[in-house]
């Protein structure tokens, strides 16, 4: 109960911030992080079923605490930056809603919160008042509300068969309904071809917003899928996930725009997250830490176009390298948890995944090749120290000595791939057009339903 009250307070304070000025939101972010740590350490789990067997179901368990911790870390890092306009208030509301998202366990609650989050992310994206931002937000909201309508149709079919909404009580499962639900949720995760809206939205938004969107917002879809897991076979998602890793990575490799590289690489890492439901929470956490770090670094970097960086001062270069290494999976840093993804897989899939991981590492070699210039005194910001500490904690907790060589080999294999593709520069945005992405989506809905019927 205290958890719900705390989050409602957060949302209320966020809304109050539109009337009053100077509410200390940093304090709330710190309080939220402490609270998440408390939940993680003491595990005061609850399992609330409201409305009897009709099922409004809230659950706090290990899965939730992992995602709550992820949210807390990203928001703590985001609130260290200077923000303009209504961003602090909106982010406080988002924080409360996200916390509530990560405890819901029934079909309708997930729907309501996903819709609130899509409205909130649109408001966050258009905070910069640029035309591109308006347009990308519009594309996002059209696609996501189509997806959510399909989700509702699926929910209606499941409710009419089972007379309950709680996922743990569903007995008769209609496969077409599940296909529609999956198609609706997958748009929110932004896996390749479902997530054609993602590069535009994540790269055009303000920096703090991009960090939240790429770090936490896409993980709400992953969380929903993990909760819906009893309804479907995880193998349905595997083709999308396997396609997503190399495609996102290649698009990132062909791009030169710093934020676009990061956005495409988010697509690729989401594929890796969706490979297996067991490693998904941990890998989400590690991806959120590294990716939001990289996005927050954008503030200090000279230009969005990477090829224009003539020289970087050492205190800018050093955190960039650390963050890149963290996402590439240097043993001991957060990204090294990618070896967890490979467990319990067949030989062919394992080989394919290792190869695609090597491709997904390649875009970050571009940052490693930048040379620093040492002029002023070397300083490290609190945000960088904090994120480095988190990354180290995650990396060391899941450190396995026998996996060190594997991680290093994947990183090294990225080097030749980078050198081969380095000379190509492609800005191919045909599939990101509104009409094209909508027709792609209509085809994908059919494919998702068919996949769900087949398995």
């Amino acid at each position: 109960m205290s958890f719900l009250l705390f989050n409602l307070t957060l949302v209320g304070m966020g809304l109050l911030g539109f009337l009053l000025e100077k509410i200390p939101y940093r304090f709330f972010a710190v309080a939220n992080a402490l609270y998440a740590l408390y939940l993680f350490a003491r595990k005061p789990f609850f399992n609330l079923v409201l409305l009897g067997r009709h099922g409004v179901h809230l659950v706090l368990d290990d899965l939730s605490t992992c995602f709550l911790l992820l949210t807390a870390v990203v928001f703590l890092a985001v609130y260290t930056t200077e923000m303009e306009g209504h961003l602090p208030q909106l982010l406080a509301v988002t924080l409360g809603v996200l916390n509530l998202m990560f405890t819901s366990n029934d079909l309708f609650n997930i729907y309501v919160i996903l819709e609130i989050l899509s409205i909130l992310s649109v408001l966050l994206v258009i905070e910069g008042r640029k035309l591109v931002q308006y347009w990308s937000a519009l594309k996002y909201i059209v696609l996501s509300s189509v997806g959510m309508n399909l989700y509702l149709i699926g929910t209606a079919i499941i409710y009419s068969n089972n007379a309950t909404l709680s996922i743990s009580q569903v007995e008769k499962v209609n496969q077409i309904a599940v296909g529609l639900i999956l198609a609706g949720v997958l748009v929110r995760t932004g896996v390749f071809l479902f997530g054609v809206w993602l590069p535009d939205v994540h790269s055009e938004a303000e920096t703090a917003v991009s960090a939240v969107l790429s770090g936490v917002m896409v993980k709400t879809g992953v969380y929903a899928l993990l909760r819906l897991w009893p309804l479907f076979d995880w193998n349905v998602l595997r083709p999308f996930a396997l396609l997503s890793i190399p495609m996102g990575a290649l698009l990132a490799l062909f791009s030169r725009d710093y934020k676009r590289i990061l956005a495409y690489s988010t697509i690729s890492h989401l594929g890796a997250i969706l490979i297996s439901p067991i490693s998904a929470p941990i890998y989400s956490l590690s991806h959120a830490v590294s990716k939001s770090w990289l996005f927050l670094l954008k503030e200090e970097l000279p230009d969005r176009d990477v090829s224009n960086w003539r020289e970087l001062s050492f205190s800018k270069w050093f955190p960039l390298i650390l963050a890149s290494l963290s996402i590439m999976g240097l043993p001991g840093l957060a990204g090294s948890t990618k070896t967890l993804v490979l467990e319990n897989l067949g030989a062919f899939e394992k080989f394919f995944l290792e190869a695609s991981f090597a491709v997904s590492v390649a875009p970050f070699w571009r940052f490693l090749f930048k040379t620093p210039v040492r002029r002023e005194r070397f300083t490290l910001k609190t945000r960088d120290i904090f994120l480095l500490a988190t990354s180290l904690t995650v990396g060391i907790t899941f450190f396995k000595f026998e996996k060190v060589l594997e991680n290093l080999l994947v990183i090294l294999a990225g080097l030749p791939i980078f050198l081969i593709f380095d000379r190509y520069r492609v800005e191919y945005r045909f599939i990101e057009k509104l009409d094209v992405s909508l027709s792609l989506y209509s085809a994908l809905v059919v494919i998702a339903c068919l996949c769900s019927l087949l398995y």
């Binding site: 009709h54 409205i119 408001l123 591109v132 347009w135 937000a137 519009l138 057009k433």
Partner: protein, 111 residues
């Protein structure tokens, strides 16, 4: 039977979203799709009876889907109004409401 019809209504909305090039028409199609979903829920709630569920008895309509869908209506109202605002801003800045023209304008804007 009625359920299938409501499903078809929402699919017609989806089709309209694909076919129309005008932003406002797209938004109306999205609304049609939402209306189809709402009606589907209403049809499902009337499965066990059509009477008003106050006071509740086994012959009356199922109140839960109706309670759910009133939430969904409010949410879709918020989404649609946000969409109208966004498209208003976009079309006033690009002086066009045609999707292809807007995208062409944006490409020119980048160069």
């Amino acid at each position: 039977m009625l359920e299938l019809m409501m499903f078809l209504v929402s699919m017609v909305g989806f089709l309209g979203l694909l076919v129309n090039k005008d932003l406002l028409k797209k938004i109306i199609s999205l609304d049609v799709m939402g209306t189809g979903v709402v009606s589907l829920f209403v049809v499902i709630s009337s499965k066990q009876g059509r009477k008003v569920p106050i006071p509740f008895s086994p012959e009356t309509a199922d109140p839960l889907p109706q309670a759910l869908i009133i939430t969904a209506i409010v949410i879709s109202f918020a989404t649609i109004s946000l969409l109208v605002v966004l498209s208003g801003v976009v079309s006033s800045r690009t002086s066009s409401s045609d999707v292809e023209k807007i995208e062409k304008y944006l490409e020119g804007d980048k160069k």
